[in-house]
């Protein structure tokens, strides 16, 4: 089982005034055979981080390591990290049959005979719950859910050590979403894949992941075991995300609401200090004494705080109200430590 490590990864686009730091010094470890869920709003850099791991986005700093080896060294046909894309309607070549799309992903050394390749395609399609008869079809003849299954089969065909799933269900209907999530979970457990699972939907991420990482404006602001992060979120942004899912539990905080109503920050001109401070319902916009949020960047000493939370008041504001479900946590632990 391979471990995926983002070691201070930064991705920067453009130069000088138009420069945009999409990902800023991200540190994240996806332990072997486990699933880390990455949540955050659009523009927070989730997808860019994923694309950096597979070489689709240029690294301006840091490294992406798989089992300690820099992914940039594994050039050529054998790529250790594979990705499943968001939109199954554009991620399959409309002019290539299902079989051709899947077979293209086979590592070169395993060329083999035509019949062997056929058998392998059929095996992979079976693994993702598709009929082998679909192999001869073009993507246009498949439903969205079927296409996404083909995309999963293609990723598996490359025999990856790590799989990145980037918003793989957000283009699908809820009825299909469940089926694809079940599939991804089953395949991950069966093959003990290391997986980075990206989604904006906290409930989906919770269902699939062993750990959760929260991203805001290019930075990872909190990382921890799923049930701990959800039961006792340390970063105010994580709390906001949770409140958005719960809806009613947000509570009537009129002043805080107006704060979170402010516009998301412009990634071209990130705010000083803590990047979340203009929107933070517990920050300087509401509590005047928390001036430190405007001036000091909490990321620099995040490692010293629990769950590497990028918030100056991570310990002060943490409210240990709801304890995590005991049984659930134990079961997740079991899965996590084989």
């Amino acid at each position: 089982m391979s471990e995926l490590v983002f070691d201070g990864v930064s991705v920067r686009y453009g130069t000088r005034r138009h420069a945009l730091t999409a990902v800023d010094g991200a540190r994240l470890t996806v332990p072997g055979g486990q699933v880390v869920g990455l949540v955050g709003e659009s523009g927070s850099g989730k997808s860019t981080l994923a694309r950096a791991a597979v070489g689709l986005a240029p690294l301006s700093a840091g490294r992406v390591l798989v089992n300690g080896t820099d992914t940039r060294r594994s050039r050529g046909r054998r790529r250790p990290v594979q990705m499943i894309f968001q939109d199954p309607y554009s991620s399959l070549n409309p002019r290539m049959t299902v079989a051709a799309s899947v077979a293209e992903a086979f590592p070169r050394e395993r060329g083999g005979s035509r019949a062997a390749r056929h058998a392998e395609v059929a095996r992979l399609l079976g693994q993702v719950g598709l009929d082998a008869d679909l192999a001869a079809l073009l993507p246009g003849q498949l439903s969205g859910g079927q296409r996404q299954r083909v995309a999963v089969a293609r990723a598996l065909a490359a025999r990856p050590q790590v799989v990145i799933a980037d918003e793989i269900t957000s283009a699908l209907d809820v009825s299909v979403q469940g089926a694809v999530l079940n599939l991804v979970r089953d395949v991950q457990r069966e093959l003990r894949l290391t997986m980075l699972f990206i989604s904006h939907d906290l409930a989906v991420v919770r269902y699939v992941s062993d750990h959760i990482a929260v991203m805001y404006l290019g930075r990872i602001v909190e990382v921890g075991p799923t049930e701990e992060v959800l039961a006792d979120p340390r970063h105010p942004y994580t709390r906001e995300l949770l409140a958005a899912v719960h809806g009613h539990t947000a509570g009537p905080r009129k002043d805080a609401e107006t704060v979170t109503d402010t516009e998301p920050a412009d990634p071209h001109h990130p705010p000083s200090g803590c990047r979340f401070h203009p929107r933070c319902p517990e920050g300087p916009a509401v509590r005047a004494e928390r001036e430190v949020c405007r001036t000091d960047d909490p990321v620099s000493d995040a490692a010293s705080r629990p769950r590497r939370t990028a918030c100056h008041f991570a310990t002060a504001t943490a409210t240990a109200t709801a304890l995590p479900e005991r049984g659930l946590r134990d079961r997740v632990r079991e899965n996590g430590n084989p």
């Binding site: 719950g129 089953d186 409930a203």
Partner: protein, 678 residues
């Protein structure tokens, strides 16, 4: 189109699944068929004419020099007494083959140049692109003349000249098309797999742009034919003793006053052949759908000339919207289909009603039909369709616009396409007030700023002067709602207004809609695939399946009182923060039926764990319960008092709820549907 789409695109609309077009479709259009036949005739002539008539075309008859049309020579003779008709026919081969050769040269050169940036390293690719961009700036015929002089006079020189002159435009086209394909995810996926650049080009990019390229090459052939005729006419092309149409035209033109046929015949040949190439290309383009797709032209902007009837706004007893048996029919290849079937609902002032369902269930189409935005060839019928007491079925488009313009506001998923990109947001809002309330430009703008403030856009004075692209998605959606509110609407129809937004922003927009509703008693019809968002915002929920409302129930009772198995299945398919992580998620097996292939009975029956023979045979009618809940199901999930439906309708006909129903009332629907099935 930007290569990176918003990460939260909604379930795709059916257009994405249409099968790719085929060339045979070209021949089926009348224009395509005519152009194809014409082209075939020209090609046949080019092959056969020299074989059949080259002898007669070169016979010199000194007894009949420069004659007009006669029985022996239908189009007359030239200055050596040769028959012009035969000469024009025989010249087809040379004219057409030279034009095709030049086009081939141009296309292949263009293809190489255009595709090179995708294969070459970045810097070299940029160099090629800039070089092509520079050459595109020169007019084609000028380039051809320039090259003709360089390569020398003669057919070979002319082919090179015209070929080189067409190359830059074609290179540009190839480059643009391949750049748009290169941005797609399947190319990114191939790169992730480590597919080499050349294979990327030949396997992933070129096949996807082949059709537009072929079409443009055909049209290009027509253009080169014309260019060739021009060059030959000027004496720069084909040299004697060879002849093509341009040369014949040049020879005949001297005597156009005496024997016009000698000049007109080659002219006609050029025109007909050029037309054949061009028309075929155009027909192919049209049939293959290469021309820019037509988008829905409806604007959510309130129309200007609406009469203001603020006085009768307060009559609470009248529903804002009354829909009875609404039906939308669409013509398709296999006859008419009805994606919206017998939809009935009422919307009261200040009420928020949500419409949920899978994509293709007819949610959006219902909204469009209600707001009379469905265009031909779709056909909308209804038993009753009333807006604030006025029927929407009678009046013509003008009156409708006057009626609905300001009192019905639409909010779409993508506010960017609903705004005019070259007009400031404030101006666009102000325009509504300017026309509708006849305000001055200045006070209308002030109103717009006030409105932006009302929809909680921060710093409204500054933001009003900004353009739509300077707004973030959430802010744009707020401005859109603000624009709808400028006309003081009675109802806001919001079609997936938060699907493209982030969860935190989504909550803000929904809260805004809620505030508007409570403060102004505006009714809201919220269409969404997100059942939890709807449950949180709305009073009532309409669940749609295969074009029909299968359940209509209070949002508060969604989790506990839903009776239709589809509603239950939909609810259990959405994971929430309490979902058991160690059990597979509930799924709904199968797919929703296509609107043109509906089963005879209940449309949900093939996917329903509770279905039996009756369900497959007979479509259930909606049954109203005491609570006002409406359910269209033979075997609703029970647990509440019996329906007050007349006997003979609904479950009563089947002997009432059996023990099976009680089992599923405990939420066991997911059990029987577990396991990955799509």
């Amino acid at each position: 189109m930007s290569p990176r789409r918003s990460p939260r695109s909604s379930p795709r609309k059916p257009h994405a699944a249409t099968p790719r077009p085929r060339w045979s479709a070209v021949a089926r259009t009348p224009l395509g068929a005519c152009a194809g036949l014409l082209l075939l005739a020209v090609i046949a002539l080019a092959v056969l004419a020299p074989v059949l008539w080259s002898g007669r075309a070169s016979v010199v008859d000194t007894g009949a020099l420069q004659q007009g049309p006669s029985g022996a020579h239908l189009l007359g003779t030239d200055n050596l007494g040769r028959d012009i008709l035969y000469r024009v026919l025989v010249a087809t081969r040379l004219s057409v083959s030279l034009a095709v050769a030049a086009t081939l040269l141009g296309v292949s050169l263009g293809l190489v140049l255009g595709a090179a940036p995708a294969v070459l390293p970045r810097r070299a690719g940029r160099l090629v692109t800039s070089a092509v961009n520079v050459t595109v700036a020169f007019p084609g015929l000028l380039l051809a003349l320039f090259f003709a002089v360089i390569f020398g006079v003669g057919a070979k020189g002319a082919v090179l000249a015209i070929g080189l002159a067409t190359a830059p435009a074609f290179a540009r086209l190839t480059h643009t098309l391949s750049a748009s394909v290169a941005g797609r995810d399947h190319v990114a996926a191939a790169r992730t797999l480590g597919v080499g650049r050349l294979r990327l080009l030949t396997r992933h990019i070129l096949p996807n742009i082949a059709e537009p390229l072929a079409v443009n090459a055909t049209i290009g052939a027509g253009a080169s034919l014309l260019a060739f005729a021009g060059l030959s006419f000027l004496g720069l092309g084909v040299q004697a003793p060879d002849y093509d149409w341009g040369r014949l035209l040049g020879e005949g033109l001297d005597r156009i006053d005496l024997t016009p046929a000698a000049a007109l015949a080659p002219c006609a040949a050029v025109v007909v052949t050029g037309l054949a190439f061009n028309l075929f290309g155009e027909a192919a383009a049209a049939a293959l759908g290469i021309r820019t797709l037509r988008h829905r032209t409806t604007s959510p902007r309130p129309a200007p000339q609406a009469p203001s009837k603020g006085s009768d706004r307060k009559r609470e007893s009248r529903p804002v919207l009354l829909v009875e048996d609404l039906q939308v029919a669409l013509p398709g290849p296999s006859g008419w289909s009805t994606p919206v079937r017998r939809v009935s609902f009422t919307l009261w002032p200040g009420e928020a009603v949500g419409v949920v369902g899978e994509s293709g269930a007819g949610k959006s189409l219902t909204a469009m039909a209600v707001s009379r935005l469905v265009e031909l060839p779709a056909h909308v019928t209804a038993h009753r369709l009333e807006f604030d007491g006025t029927s929407l079925l009678g009046p013509g488009p003008r009156e409708l616009r006057a009626l609905l313009g300001t009192s019905m506001a639409m909010v779409f998923q993508d506010p960017m396409s609903s705004f005019n990109p070259v007009m400031s947001v404030g101006r666009q809002l102000a325009e509504v007030a300017e026309h509708h309330r006849r305000l001055s430009r200045r006070s209308a703008f002030e109103q717009a700023v006030d409105q932006l403030r009302a929809v909680r856009v921060p710093a409204p004075e500054r933001r009003a002067r900004q353009y739509p692209h300077e707004f973030s998605g959430g802010m744009r959606q707020r401005a859109m709602i603000g624009m709808g509110l400028m006309g003081d609407p009675k109802v806001i129809i919001a079609d997936e207004p938060t699907t493209a937004l982030d969860v935190t922003v989504q909550r803000q927009v929904l809260r805004l809609l809620d505030t508007v509703r409570t403060e102004r008693a505006t009714a809201v019809l919220l269409i969404s695939h997100d059942i939890t968002a709807v449950a949180r915002t709305c009073d009532r929920v309409l669940v749609m399946y295969a074009g029909r409302i299968v359940e209509d129930l209070p949002a508060a009772g969604l989790l506990t009182e839903a009776r239709h198995p589809y509603t239950r299945a939909l609810l259990s398919a959405v994971p929430d923060l309490d979902t058991d992580r160690n059990r597979p998620l509930a799924v709904i097996p199968g797919r929703p039926p296509q609107p043109h292939r509906l089963p005879p009975g209940c449309a949900f029956a093939p996917r329903c764990p509770r279905s039996d023979d009756l369900c497959r045979r007979k479509d259930p009618r909606p049954v109203t319960y005491a609570t006002g809940q409406r359910v269209a199901c033979w075997h609703p999930v029970e647990g509440e008092p019996a329906p007050k439906a007349p006997p003979g309708q609904g479950a009563a006909e089947h002997g009432g709820p059996g023990p099976r129903l009680e089992r599923a009332a405990n939420g066991d629907v997911e059990e029987s549907t577990g396991g990955p099935t799509v």
